[in-house]
Amino acid sequence: MPASDVAVEERPTTSSVEPVVNDFSIQVATVNGSGSQTANLVLLRAIFQMGVPVSAKNMFPSNIAGLPTWFTIRANKDGYVGWKKKTEILVAMNPETAREDVLNLDPGSVVVYDEPLKLDSVRSDLVFYPVPFNTLVGDVTREVTLRRRVRNMIYDGVLSRLLGVEIDQMEVALRKHFGNKVKVVAINRAALDAGYAFAEQHLEKRDPYRIEPMDENQGRILIDGNAAAAIGCLMAGVTVVTWYPITPSSSLCETLIDYLRKYRVDKETGKASFAVVQAEDEIAALGMAIGAGWAGARSMTATSGPGISLMGEFTGLAYYAEVPAVIFDIQRVGPSTGLPTRTAQGDVLTTAFLSHGDTRHPLLFPCSPEECYSMAINAFDLAERFQTPVFVLSDLDLGMNTWMSPTFAYPTKPMDRGKVLDAATLDRIGQFGRYRDVDGDGIPYRSVPGSSMPAYFCRGSGHNEWGQYSERADDYQKNVDRLLRKFETFRNWMPAPVVEINRKAKVGIIAFGTTHWAVVESRDQLRNEADVQTSYYRLRAYPFRPALASFIERHDRVYVVEQNRDAQMAILMRLELRAELSGRLRSILHYSGDPIDARTITDDILVQEGYRVHYSAADGVIPHDAGVGGE
């Protein structure tokens, strides 16, 4: 790599009067259960409606009411939607965290706060806007419960005035949120107006941050990944949904239930073309999905890491018995109590090899709501085509946060129900053997109970190709070899990677899932700040395609960026790569429970590339002096 000097650029301080337009984050610190979600979503949607690229991250505790929550909205004219650690504007509503929240800000940042908190005494290098929330809400309504509900809407009014977020767009967002509840919209609007009027009369604008209209959001929607996956399941023609509640996956099934009730119940008869069962645990949830898949339904379940652990035994059975099922794993941080509401990509190895004995499972890695939708549809086709459990690995960041997305495309291909035995097929193949490889692709034909086709007794690994019980060594080995052949067949059926080759690049980056958004931004940082050119391979599925090895071959060093401690995806790659290519892999790992951010990736790559980096008060770390250079 070029080991030339990198100019040290002193950043202007943020107290500069130069306006900062559509490029900053707003963080609202509240207590959970205080009803701030409406105010936050209205603010987010209003900025979205102004055509400005926007994203949101909700950092919430595993708790119903009373613990601190931070909701961050990032507006970015360049379209970066990944997590950014630095916040320019803080709305401090939580007395417990207010002091620490203020201390964490960079100089020049803005604090809108509840006046009695007296936060302006904490620091002198910030722009403080005190707001007497209780007084203002008292003028909006006399009713105590209503006051509590609309109090947060006042900060939306204040921000509208301070930042130039159009108040009429906020009203449109309110209507969207509350539908035709006229009175509710009216009282929230009154709270907005109260905040706006207060800011107009009492707060002199002393910060540079502004939202100005753009035209970037035509044809876009706002949606979370779980809702997107739910729409995918609806469009995939799912018929059996069996699940057990677990954060952060519950909203996937709950949203799906809403859509199924709306669109899949016969209006005349009231009868449903689907069945949903809330099971007694994740073991039963997957057992039911497998039972349904065996009997010919399009079945699914959704869970998170702890549920995946419980599903281990059944997943192995479905692998050997060759039964389709779709399993959504909305990944989160580790077991039991602790950080169940924080994000991670920590289930890669677990799901790839879930269960005992020799097992391997196909995995899909959506990075966006649009892919949650399209991969959900794809997952059902793959599961039935290959008669095996298929895992869709989303995460909390994607599943539960609100993202901008292009509208979803209607499926162009008919459903692929796979090799289900019918009379014509039986005629063609002669005799039915449940585990016979008739077509040479490792995929046998299956008969479905109740179809009057020849029956078989479905069981674990102890069967011959006719589906008869067998403990013979040759039968067993022949069968597991065929399963491997089947696995090889689906390599090229899995979604292709998205590859961007930069001919000048000696450095490659591989990422998957939500890490993508931080990588997009990091690649620009690397190029703009240190002239490090990169190529990019966004993985979308396991098993990997042969293109993976070719990509690594093109580059001297390839950084695998992922959100876990143990470099799980890199390990999975190393199992398949020849040693020379394996040696080119390096890891960028992020595992704090927060979503990964571009700055973390950029700094880590620069350090590993031999640059020395130093911390800048303004912007975390910037590259400084090319050091020893790369190898």
Binding site: T239, A275, L286, G287, S299, E313, T407
Partner: protein, 347 residues
């Protein structure tokens, strides 16, 4: 209602099928195992009731009992699930195709220990499945350890004494809302066949605990699940006569002595009471009888509890008439207009 079948020349049932159609592969269980007798009774009952074998799913967990579905109804699909998890597989299969006749075979370990959770929720849901526990009080396939239905004081072959109280699966099932609960003995051919036929006619979970001695590990003196003990301690509640809905047979009986129960499909069960107070539609009485007989060291057999007209799980789901598994694409993939409507709501 349905044509009465005249006495056939060749022994065929109302579908015109012969008995061998209902057989399965050769058993690999020990000679004399009670489970084999139960398989025979299942074959008899399915034949007599004229069940279409291709519409049956046979389900099981793990253990000696769970091997037995291979030994009856060879032309039916079967699923040998993982240990203790047959209820969830059965639930899924029936969700996919509500027209299937589900016969589940479990054991006392498969149900009472590892599978107690799924058993409990199966009973709560009242899924239409015949759930048979082949109960021998021990783990046969792992060579004779106690199971949770072993009685206090019962001994292993090695002399080890069981110290823990047994789970009474029948009492548990009744308490959990099961709608058909019976107990029988693998050696009682007449009673077990009648119960199985009635179970086929029932719409809902039919839970049948069948004492089925393990001739290899639990048939010795000191065991309360041996043949000898079962024979001498069985306490039948009634004599059962089953009349299927498709046979027009009048039964004379003395009111007061015999109770008639009409099952979901119109079949009738005549219970000639041995204890004249006993009423199997009375839940509290059922629980009391189970408790009292157990206290006496006996076990009550027969139809212990029945609530024949309760809605089953699939009915409450209000599914379309055709099985979900075979719905065509245009019935499960909403049209483009639906996606457009959803997208518009999110823009």
């Amino acid at each position: 209602m349905v044509t009465a079948t005249p006495t056939p020349k060749k022994k065929t049932n109302r579908l015109g099928l012969e008995l061998p159609v209902y057989r399965g592969s050769k058993t690999t269980l020990c000679a004399g195992c009670g489970h084999n007798a139960i398989s025979e009774r299942i074959i008899d009952a399915c034949f007599a009731m004229g069940i279409e074998p291709t519409q049956v799913v046979k389900l099981s967990g793990i253990g000696c009992s769970s091997k037995s579905p291979a030994y009856f109804l060879g032309s039916a699909h079967g699923f040998n699930a993982v240990h203790g998890r047959m209820p969830s597989i059965g639930t899924g299969a029936l969700l996919a195709n509500k027209n299937l006749v589900a016969i589940g075979v479990s054991g006392d370990g498969d149900t009472g220990a590892i599978g107690i959770g799924q058993f409990i929720h199966l009973m709560r849901r009242n899924l239409p499945i015949i759930y048979i526990i082949e109960d021998n009080g021990c783990y046969g396939l792992t060579k004779g350890q106690f199971s949770p239905t072993a009685d206090v004081g019962s001994t292993l072959k090695t002399g080890v004494v069981n110290e823990l109280p047994p789970i009474d699966t029948c009492a548990l099932a009744i308490q959990l809302g099961a709608t058909f609960v019976a107990r029988s003995f693998s050696g009682d051919k007449k009673q077990l066949t009648a119960i199985l036929k009635a179970a086929i006619s029932h719409r809902g979970t039919a839970m049948i605990d069948v004492l089925s001695p393990c001739v290899t590990f639990n048939d010795h003196e000191g065991s309360t699940k041996s043949y000898a003990y079962a024979k001498s301690h069985e306490d039948p509640l009634e004599e059962l006569d089953f009349v299927p809905y498709f046979e027009d047979i009048a039964v004379d009986y003395e009111p007061g002595e015999t109770q008639e129960v009409t099952l979901h499909d119109g079949s009738r069960l005549y219970l000639k009471k041995l204890d004249e107070r006993y009423d199997p539609t009375d839940k509290m009485q059922a629980l009391r009888v189970l408790h009292e007989t157990h206290e006496r060291g006996e076990f009550a057999t027969g139809l212990i509890y029945v609530a024949p007209m309760t809605d089953d799980f699939l009915t409450t789901l209000n599914l379309v008439d055709e099985p979900l598994a075979s719905l065509p694409e245009d019935q499960v993939r909403p049209p483009r207009s639906v996606l457009n409507e959803i997208m518009a709501s999110l823009a």
